[in-house]
């Protein structure tokens, strides 16, 4: 049987990771988490404000999911490493979704800072989930320095453009030994299915669910989509061909128009 998705020694029952950014309320988020069937949600760290009762942590505790703290908004390895350490202390986990971006407009990762931060965090004992470009070479380097999973983007964060370079994703899947999780760019269910059909081991998405008209319904769709793609990949698709291949045999077809002579025997 298929082994479950295992990240840094932890087995997960779902191949969908839900980002919590973008939900209009904690109640909406809570229902989306439940509908998604996920076991892991990302959170960010920001200066505390007096938000009163009903916190994100309460939602996480009530839904029973694990926390994956991120380093969203960091531009340098130095800053990302410090934020990762804050996350470790805040949530008592050595997991970190490492994001080191290079540009506010595209939010694309800064390859050199990312690799530098990944190496430092792995050395410090973190289980690093590395958000990365859809670049097979960089993904390979991240796996080599010890990241627990590499998470290439399908397209820019929040863009909803889906998977722009399926070819690169397939190469990444072939080249790295650690799990590959498609992270960012998912717009709708078929994008998530495609990611899994390309061989990804999981999908991380936020906006596609939290900003959908009905987040809980979209979360349910994503759950089914990830599962469908995973099953289809395991089942083995048929090859693409240029011409039709009849699925019904031509043998034994009746002669309703009397076009052939009777059998002489």
């Amino acid at each position: 049987m298929d082994a479950p998705l295992t990240i840094g020694g932890t087995e997960l029952g779902s191949r969908l990771v839900l980002g919590t950014g973008g939900a209009s309320s904690l109640d909406v988020l809570s229902r989306a988490i439940e509908a998604s069937g996920t076991e892991v949600v990302t959170v960010a760290l920001r200066r505390v404000t007096d938000t009163g009762p009903g916190s994100l942590l309460d939602v996480i505790e009530r839904t029973g999911v694990r926390v994956l703290p991120n380093t969203a908004g960091c531009y340098t390895a130095r800053e990302a490493v410090q934020v990762a350490k804050l996350g470790r202390d805040a949530f008592e986990t050595d997991w970190v979704k490492l994001e080191v971006i290079g540009d506010e407009r595209t939010l694309l990762p800064d390859a050199t800072e990312l690799l530098d931060a990944a190496e430092q965090l792995v050395d410090d004992g973190f289980t690093v989930w590395a958000y990365t470009n859809d670049d097979p070479i960089l993904a390979t380097r991240l796996a080599q320095v010890g990241c627990a999973t590499v998470m290439p983007l399908g397209s820019p964060i929040g863009s909803g453009m889906g998977i722009l370079n399926p070819y690169n994703l397939s190469i990444i899947r072939e080249q790295v030994e650690v799990p590959v999780i498609l992270d960012a760019g998912i717009g709708t269910a078929s994008d998530a299915t495609l990611a899994m059909e390309l061989g990804c081991d999981g999908v991380l998405l936020a906006s596609a669910v939290t900003r959908a008209r009905d987040p809980a319904a979209m979360a349910q769709a994503m759950r089914a989509a990830v599962e469908a793609g995973w099953l289809a990949r395991r089942a083995g698709r048929i090859p693409r061909r240029s011409y039709a291949q009849a699925s019904t045999t031509g043998e034994g077809r009746p002669d309703l128009l009397g076009l052939t002579d009777p059998d002489p025997s």
Binding site: A44, V48, S55, I60, A72, Q82
Partner: protein, 66 residues
């Protein structure tokens, strides 16, 4: 003595622990982390660490984020 908490100046009457400053900012220490002068201060040290004049304290907690 003057310190900075999340970018805001704060006057302290006398020697104050980091733990006391944190408790002044949040009702619940759960899910909170702190850096002093850019370095993470582990939670098991908050009540031992006495802040010095000019300390820059950053207190962070969980928010929604991808």
């Amino acid at each position: 003595m003057r310190i900075e908490v999340n970018g805001q100046p704060r006057e302290l009457d006398g020697p104050t622990t980091l733990g006391a400053v944190v408790d002044g900012e949040v009702a619940d220490r759960r899910g909170v982390a702190v850096a002093v002068d850019g370095e993470v201060a582990a939670r098991d040290r908050w009540d031992e660490l006495t802040l010095t004049d000019g300390a820059r304290v950053e207190i962070v907690g969980a928010v929604q984020g991808g």
